[in-house]
């Protein structure tokens, strides 16, 4: 989370390029949307099941990150012309993932349910919304967004296998579970890189965080993303700096 926010902030300052990050999690972790309240039942569940917890800078619902490929893409709206409505960026990003899965011969469709902003599911993977990705009618990929002026951060999860409490996955499934076969991680990483670059028309250059991104990420990790005040109450003094 800290790295994503660091790149977002640096990108707005013009100090970082548009960036695609593909990553996984060291331990099963629940992430909360920016405005979500963690209720007593979820807090208890996290404790019982030894799930880590972090609040995202993006919107949307709870996500249990475990056996998935997590992606975040940070880009300028200027990269994509013409400018689009917020919901249209979901379609663009979903299409990147859809085409990556097509490269691996996985039949995946975009959910068409009309998006109702007031009908925001508590649990992200319990309710497919428009432009989520479906395999055999089950949601396998969802994403959420932060808009920082002209710069957009889109964070998404491509589920490979569901795990933990089934309550997290009422209308979802992992791609590998639906296909009954294991997907090669290097192949899917490569397919995602290619599709994002082609769809967004951005020439991503492989590499790690810049020194400035790393320094800012370290500060945000210490001051924000490891703090109870942010993760449980959504309070961070420097949020709007």
């Amino acid at each position: 989370m800290a790295s994503d926010e660091a790149i977002l902030r640096q990108r707005r300052m013009g100090a970082s390029p548009s960036t695609l990050r593909l990553y996984s999690w060291l331990k099963p972790t629940v992430s909360l949307g920016y405005f979500q309240h963690i209720g007593v039942p979820l807090a208890a569940l996290c404790r019982q099941q030894h799930l880590a917890l972090v609040r995202r800078p993006t919107g949307g619902g709870f996500v249990l990150h475990d056996q998935e490929i997590t992606f975040s893409v940070i880009f300028s709206r200027q990269d994509l012309r013409p400018q689009r409505q917020t919901v249209e960026y979901y379609r663009v990003i979903a299409t990147c993932v859809q085409k990556a899965l097509w490269r691996l011969n996985i039949a995946v469709t975009l959910a068409e349910k009309v998006f109702d902003g007031r009908d925001n599911s508590f649990l992200c993977f319990n309710k497919p919304t428009k432009y989520d990705l479906l395999v055999a009618g089950k949601k396998v990929c969802g994403s959420a967004q932060r808009r920082y002026g002209e710069i957009i951060l889109q964070q998404g999860s491509l589920i490979l296998r569901t795990s933990g409490d089934p309550g997290f996955w009422r209308q979802a499934a992992g791609v590998e579970e639906v296909l009954c076969e294991k997907i090669s991680r290097p192949e899917i990483y490569q397919a995602l890189q290619t599709s994002f670059a082609e769809e967004l028309r951005i020439a991503f250059v492989p590499g790690g965080l810049t020194a400035a991104e790393r320094a800012l990420a370290r500060r945000l990790t210490t001051e924000k993303y490891t703090q109870v005040s942010w993760n449980y109450q959504g309070q961070y003094q420097g949020e709007h700096d």
Binding site: Y34, F35, G59, Q78, Q83, R147, Y148
Partner: protein, 128 residues
Amino acid sequence: MVPRELKYSESHEWVKQEGAMVIIGITDYAQEELGDVVFVELPKVSRQLKQQESFGVAESVKAVSDLFSPVTGKVMAINETLAQQPELVNKEPYAGGWMIKVELSDNGEIANLMSAEEYEKFIQEGPK
């Protein structure tokens, strides 16, 4: 519809000047781009804002969007109604959907904002 009497920023906030005080909200164009606004987070009263600093966020369609102050100054009031009725940002962007009142530190910043005519041209052509 772009009200003639207001000034506008490139990040799609409007500014209404009332003496040393300004009222700030987001434009009709901005709310339409965002879609249904479901939450708004505004700053604490008395916070000092710098021009172009994020003063809060709005959530719509799983997207959290930063709101940027077009001016430097001190927050004197916030629209507390938006906590219960965030939809006012969509329904009445130039009236009931106002967000903050700021005491200006630098009156000159207002002159650098766009007029209604300039803003209309800006949203037709997009940022350079």
